[in-house]
């Protein structure tokens, strides 16, 4: 079975090589189409043999994505993709394993597995299509639906307070945390590529529009006209500037983040400089909480720290054991403890 190092191109594959023969079946206008397209676009860039790529998903509209990728794929059961991916990656570290999931799949039924795959830092790319709704089951609220939302299952409005996927991930010791938008093809491609390049569990939340059951959930700040002023694209080592006119910034005022207008006294040097590699995740946590209208919504890589991955540690333990104790021989094990011979 072929193995390839990251980044080193193998043959010349194009986007089309990653389009499967299955007819895509999402509602016309669904944000999943774009996420699929960008995913197919990014694959050739990674320079891995196609047969070494695996997409694993749970259940949900989003979780159908693997059928449309001409790679190995596993459309598993609801909420369990991370467990299957962990086992596969542990068994076959040379594979590039991607997890496609939804807000219900990853945060409702699958919440525990998400916690643990992140803390273990299994080298996977986890892409969460967050449409703040249960799409496949036709429109019940999800753990990310806004408080008070009226849906089929909450005709009087929800009374559950939503989770912030990125805050959950950071609370679970995630080493790579990023956010993008279905409609921003360019940024999404770049984010997926960063996720792949990161060694360890990469968690990417993508705002995805469900135009049937939750249309425009993110439009307030992701709509083309307002996006520049209501979101901020974080860049490592750069001061946090945003706005159509690049005239606004984020400052850490004591214990609080605040939006400042650049000019009349306030300069770039007053702004918080984004450091995705901070060992302490607390500032990344702060950024994950930024919400419109108080703050612009943070996009891009919030956190990316280098930690040994679960799969490599597992391999190393085996190598060390063999180096130290020699290849296992069944006889030694069979004969452990006292033995005796019967003539």
């Amino acid at each position: 079975m072929v193995t390839a190092k990251r980044g080193e191109p193998v043959g010349v594959l194009s986007r089309k090589d990653f389009v499967s023969d299955q007819e895509v079946r999402w509602c016309p206008g669904c944000g999943d189409y774009s996420i699929l397209a960008q995913t197919q676009k990014v694959m050739p860039e990674l320079g891995i043999p196609r047969e070494n790529i695996v997409f694993i998903s749970g259940i949900g509209c989003s979780s159908r994505l693997p059928y449309y990728m001409n790679t190995y794929g596993f459309h598993s059961i609801h909420g369990r993709a991370a467990t299957i991916a962990s086992g596969l990656k542990a068994a076959r570290p040379e594979l590039s394993v991607w997890v496609t999931t939804g807000d219900g799949d990853a945060l409702s039924i699958g919440g525990n597995h998400l916690l643990h795959v992140l803390r273990r830092n299994v080298d996977l790319q986890i892409v969460l299509h967050n449409n703040e709704i249960y799409g496949l089951t036709k429109g019940q609220y999800s753990p990310t639906s806004e408080f008070g939302k009226r849906t089929k299952s909450s005709p009087y409005g929800t009374i559950d307070r939503p989770l912030q996927p990125l805050s959950v991930a950071i609370g679970a010791e995630a080493t790579f945390v990023a956010r993008s938008i279905d409609a921003d093809a360019h940024h999404l491609v770049a984010t997926l590529e960063r996720a792949y390049k990161h060694r360890g569990a990469s968690f990417v939340e993508v705002f995805q529009n469900c135009n049937i059951f939750n249309d425009g959930a993110f439009a307030e700040f992701t709509a083309k006209e307002v996006r520049a002023d209501r979101t901020i694209v974080l860049e490592h080592g750069k001061p946090m500037i945003f706005g159509k006119e690049r005239d606004k910034g984020i400052r850490l005022n004591g214990t609080k983040l605040e939006v400042v207008q650049l000019g009349n006294g306030v300069t770039e040097t007053d702004l918080l400089v984004h450091d995705e590699q901070r060992d302490d995740p607390s500032i990344a946590f702060m950024l994950s909480r930024m919400q419109w209208p108080e703050c612009p919504v943070a996009l891009g890589v919030l956190r990316a720290v280098d930690r040994p991955t679960y799969d490599t540690l597992m391999t190393e333990q085996i190598e060390h054991a063999i180096a130290a104790e020699g290849e296992g021989d069944l006889k030694d094990i069979f004969l452990e403890g006292d033995t005796w011979t019967v003539e």
């Binding site: 047969e51 790529i53 794929g73 369990r80 086992g87 068994a91 085996i318 094990i333 019967v342 003539e343």
Partner: protein, 620 residues
């Protein structure tokens, strides 16, 4: 029982009786090291050439208060000059290190049984902890037994007075004193244990010496005091020649799975979440890093099986293991494994249910869960080991089926097998037939759900294989292509294909063999851990001239092809199960035979007597 005078110079105050079989139970506080005394006696007897069988009785509590009833720990060892299959119904000898141990174990000792007590521990506080109103050693409540009051604590401390050990350390040695006494009583050599002590406490010579001294002291106490009028000798058994070790069912299970991975040339992946009594298998396999074994302690049982399914998709020999409650949690994912048709072994070391039940107690209550505990028609193969050492072979068999038929296989052990031990004739690896993973590699012929006509198995195409990219999942699959299909006829066909595939396995299931008469009279049919008691009970009944035979199922699904014919050949069929009749129901439904049940669900194995009595009741 024949008396013989020992050829030895020095005069013997005590005569030696030869016995065929003896069963000793060591019982004391969890802190008293009874498991240790028991295992040492076991090894020595094994080395001395007896056949042996043991069962530990470990308290449910983590560490209940010292001297309390729930704190009692016991270990029963049976050794014999004949082949034996069980640790014995009742002990011939009970060693009770404190009042609580006496209280909880006396009921099992037959009247006239030998009772050795550490009288030093029968003080106010301990008697109270054991809820004794009066001291049983003082009143004559024990006169039905051959009672020996030995001041074990005192003698032990005296013997170790100048060992340089602390009082606490000295007291810890008293299990060795008791062991030494038993060694003398059954004419055993001390050297196996002496060597063991030297290994174990090598780094701590004082402690080593202390333990050896206590062991000797116990032995000499028996030899020199006039207390014991007789002692005993159990001759060598005629066992299959070869190299033996003592092994528990869980150890044998772990070794079986490890061996299967060697036979398949694929690394073993074990995804599991700790649970009594299955955890030992995780502990064992976690030690086998140098064999490339990968153990994944998952966050729960669902993640455990999920990880195993992922590993199987990747071409590993994938295993997940648990006990009853964990199997319940795996239900949905087992259904996924049925749908994706990947090799997977699911180990269930059954314990007493329902729900949390009695975690440290044994039961056969998960058979129907294993058969049917999933939504829709989702058949799986099921195998069950019959004895502790059989776990090794059945574990290999489980993977053989899983790989050949690309199916989940449930390995149904239980707490009695898992924790019990017996001698294991160490196998020769080179004689075991290999397991062929038979990966798909040819893009020209590859179809994800095309089937091998002989096995109905689909190809195992693992990621990393060029041009075999394909997608699997839990939605219904179209025949051959494996694409998602909602077609009505296809679904009906696939449901029947999955069932037919499991039925096909019967071609690899050996015909059921009957021990005894090939027809007529009563057939006692068993499965799993009842093998030992059934075999012994039937042998005894036959020795009394009763027309009764025995047969044992290792493959529970599919059942042996000849089972139906076998059943028809007998006047009556009795099926003892440690449940309310789960296999009995399956057999009745399939063959419309009026199988009679003997059912006991007390968390304990059957006694030989219980089976014998039922046989007597049925065949007079």
């Amino acid at each position: 029982m024949t008396t013989l005078t020992r050829e030895s110079e020095q005069p013997e105050h005590s005569e030696v009786l030869e016995l065929e079989r003896v069963t000793i139970r060591f019982a004391g506080d969890s802190g008293d090291g009874m498991q240790l005394a028991g295992t040492q006696f076991t090894k020595t007897s094994a080395v001395a050439g007896n056949d042996i069988s043991t069962f530990p009785d470990i308290p449910a509590e983590i560490r209940a208060p010292q001297g309390s009833l729930p704190g009692v720990s016991g270990f029963q060892v049976s050794f014999s000059s004949q082949e034996i299959y069980t640790p014995g119904d009742a002990p011939d000898v009970l060693v009770a290190m404190n009042p609580a141990a006496l209280k909880t174990n006396l009921a099992d000792l037959p009247r006239g049984g030998l009772l050795v007590v550490n009288e030093d521990e029968f003080n106010e506080t301990n008697l109270k902890k054991a809820a004794y109103a009066a001291n049983p050693l003082e009143d004559d409540s024990l006169k039905a037994y051959r009672l020996y009051r030995v001041p074990i604590s005192a003698l032990n401390s005296r013997a170790l007075a100048d060992s340089g050990l602390t009082a606490v350390q000295i007291d810890r040695c008293k299990n060795m004193f008791a062991l030494g006494l038993m060694f003398w009583m059954y004419s055993r050599e001390l050297d196996t244990t002496t060597h063991w002590i030297e290994d174990k406490f090598g780094k701590n010579p004082k402690v080593a010496e202390g333990n050896k001294a206590a062991l000797k002291a116990g032995y000499h106490f028996g030899e020199t005091t006039e207390m014991f009028a007789t002692h005993y000798h159990v001759p060598k058994a005629k066992l299959k020649p070869g190299l033996y070790r003592n092994i528990t069912g869980n150890e044998a299970t772990a070794l079986g799975f490890l061996t299967a991975s060697k036979l398949a040339g694929r690394p073993l992946f074990y995804g599991s979440y700790p649970i009594t009594p299955a955890s030992d298998v995780l502990h064992e396999l976690a030690r086998f890093k140098r064999f490339g074994v990968k153990t994944f302690q998952a966050e729960d049982e669902i993640a455990a099986i999920g990880s195993a399914i992922g590993a199987s998709f990747g071409g590993a020999l994938a295993l997940t293991g648990t006990s009853g409650p964990g199997l319940a949690l795996k239900s949905e994912a087992i259904g996924l494994a049925v749908m994706v048709e990947l090799p997977l072994v699911i180990m269930d070391v059954q314990r007493a249910g329902p729900s949390t039940g009695m975690p440290t107690k044994t039961e056969q209550g998960d058979l129907l869960q294993a058969m049917f505990g999933r939504n829709g028609e989702s058949p799986v193969a099921i195998v069950a080991p019959a004895t502790a050492s059989d776990c090794f072979h059945v574990a290999i068999e489980a993977f053989r089926i899983a790989v050949k038929y690309r199916t989940p296989v449930i390995f149904l052990s239980d707490g009695y097998l898992g924790m019990g031990s017996e001698p294991w004739l160490v196998p020769d690896f080179t004689t075991l037939p290999p397991i062929d993973p038979d990966f798909a590699t040819d893009p020209a012929t590859f179809k994800p759900y095309a089937r091998n006509p002989e096995t109905l198995a689909r190809p195992w195409a693992v990621p990393g294989t060029p041009d075999l990219e394909h997608r699997i999942g839990g939605l219904e699959k179209a025949d051959i292509t494996g694409n998602v299909s909602y077609d009505a006829a296809n679904h009906d066909k696939m449901v029947r294909l999955r069932a037919a595939k499991i039925e096909k396995i019967v071609q690899d299931v050996p015909d059921l063999e009957v021990a005894g008469d090939q027809s007529g009279g009563l057939l006692v049919l068993g499965w799993g851990s009842t093998y030992g008691v059934i075999t012994t009970a039937v042998q005894r009944a036959r020795a009394q001239g009763k027309k009764v035979s025995a047969a044992h199922l290792r493959h529970l699904n599919p059942l042996p092809a000849n089972l139906g014919d076998v059943l028809m050949r007998y006047d009556r069929v009795l099926m003892p199960e440690i449940n309310l009749g789960q296999m009995r129901m399956l057999v009745r439904a399939r063959y419309l035979v009026d199988v009679v049940g003997l059912n006991k669900v007390s968390g304990r194995p059957f006694t030989i007597a219980e089976i014998e009595n039922k046989i007597a009741e049925l065949v007079g």
